[in-house]
Symmetry: C2
Amino acid sequence: MRTIALINQKGGVGKTTTAANLGAALAEAGRRVVLVDLDPQGNLTLHLGVQLDGVGAATSYRVLVGEAPFADAVYPTGVERLSIVPTDIDLSGAELELASAFGRETLLRDAVKKWVDAHQEAHGEDPADYLILDCPPSLGLLAVNGLAAVREVFLAVQTEFFALQGLTKLMDIVELVKSRLHPELEITGIVPCLYDSRLRLAREVLAEVREFFPGLVFAQTIGTNVKLAEAPSFGKTILEYAPSSPGARDYRGLAQLVIAQEPQD
Amino acid sequence: MRTIALINQKGGVGKTTTAANLGAALAEAGRRVVLVDLDPQGNLTLHLGVQLDGVGAATSYRVLVGEAPFADAVYPTGVERLSIVPTDIDLSGAELELASAFGRETLLRDAVKKWVDAHQEAHGEDPADYLILDCPPSLGLLAVNGLAAVREVFLAVQTEFFALQGLTKLMDIVELVKSRLHPELEITGIVPCLYDSRLRLAREVLAEVREFFPGLVFAQTIGTNVKLAEAPSFGKTILEYAPSSPGARDYRGLAQLVIAQEPQD
Ligand SMILES: Nc1ncnc2c1ncn2[C@@H]1O[C@H](COP(=O)(O)OP(=O)(O)OP(=O)(O)O)[C@@H](O)[C@H]1O
Ligand SMILES: Nc1ncnc2c1ncn2[C@@H]1O[C@H](COP(=O)(O)OP(=O)(O)OP(=O)(O)O)[C@@H](O)[C@H]1O
Ligand SMILES: [Mg+2]
Ligand SMILES: [Mg+2]
């Protein structure tokens, strides 16, 4: 099972949109995908139209505080082979609540490991092919939990000026998690989001990002396309809402490049 | 002195762009403006091209941890009547570092009060006409410090679907700060940012925001305009970089509406 955190502390760069639509495109291509909403805003949960069945439902918050096993928090979406661990409003208190918990940085990793081990035990295979985490726009305890729980990091990067400033800080945090919690952690992909090739600024920033991360920036850019911004209001992925739009094409293209990275057994 | 926090936990909605350019437009109109960068990303500091003079410089972080008085952290920008309290990388550790500090929610308020009182004492007037805080895209301790230190809240809202989801949570936090820390706190303005009137989605979301906050949404929308995204890469406000662009016009228009809210003595 590939485990990937979609992260960038810069806000509004396309993390959630990429989690939902890359997840859907990988599922369409036959992969079993579990998405995890680690952002207290709950945008991913809303994007996929997941309604939680009342108080006490298993969510990413309950998994973190140890009140629910990971397996109980995996819900189906309307898309075949695509499921989600949703979040609710309680997650916004988690950072302060867990600040003094024992093993606070690896709560999610431990919960995921139990889920995978139990599934391996019962079925002789991993519970999914991809585990993709949607992180909040900050580098606090939730983001650290996300990084400690995965082996791969994808940065969603908007091709605008502020994008470059935050990248060194992000790499510092990834290095910190790698050296202290998780030696196998690697940045394995940079997704250029909200890209408008007509803008000189966008082309310049993309060129700088490619220089900064040689060989890691996916050739497939995700163009700015209003259908991608409309789809969440219908609780749908772009593949359901506008399957022949440029946004759907871009995310299918990205999924192919992600699949091409898979280790050939 | 009017004190205003620009906040929204949704990322990338135009908080920093509004802090820099509304600040500049108010300064151009003759107001004395102090901006405070409360976001560990430091985008506002970068936007205004402020270079900190080496280790130990007074920053918003040092003010929060009590190592520097507020007055020492107010730096000039290239714009007349516009100054800034910058931030540096240390601020990203502040949330966890201050989690158990005594009076952790009102550190900024107390520092600002000392600055205002001392200035009143020495000069018989407030040190500025406007204090505007740029908040990070989260609702943790930094945002709470911001809310506790001001009497007014402006929400920067991108006219896209996710914008609506976070607003109720934001209002909950404002109410919480109002009831527990600061009874005079009020939401006094909603700034529609990154608005493209050609998009049906944008028009629909704007209409919903106007319904949600009757009478609070500024008539002046801030249109999407690439010059606004380019200006920060030159360390300039839109008024310096492209003074006759639609972006400059929009922020001047907003400043007039903000000035029109001033209490008539
Ligand atoms: N390629 C695109 N074309 C058009 N709109 C997009 C695109 N990608 C994202 N958006 C829109 O831009 C906004 C920001 O995207 P999104 O919410 O995915 O970013 P994020 O990084 O997850 O934000 P946050 O930091 O708040 O979690 C949303 O309103 C989304 O619908
Ligand atoms: N009206 C506009 N037209 C064009 N680009 C804009 C406009 N307003 C903001 N931008 C750009 O959009 C991006 C997001 O804006 P900004 O950084 O101000 O948002 P923010 O809410 O402060 O983000 P964060 O949540 O990360 O602090 C930036 O790259 C900025 O340059
Ligand atoms: Mg998101
Ligand atoms: Mg900002």
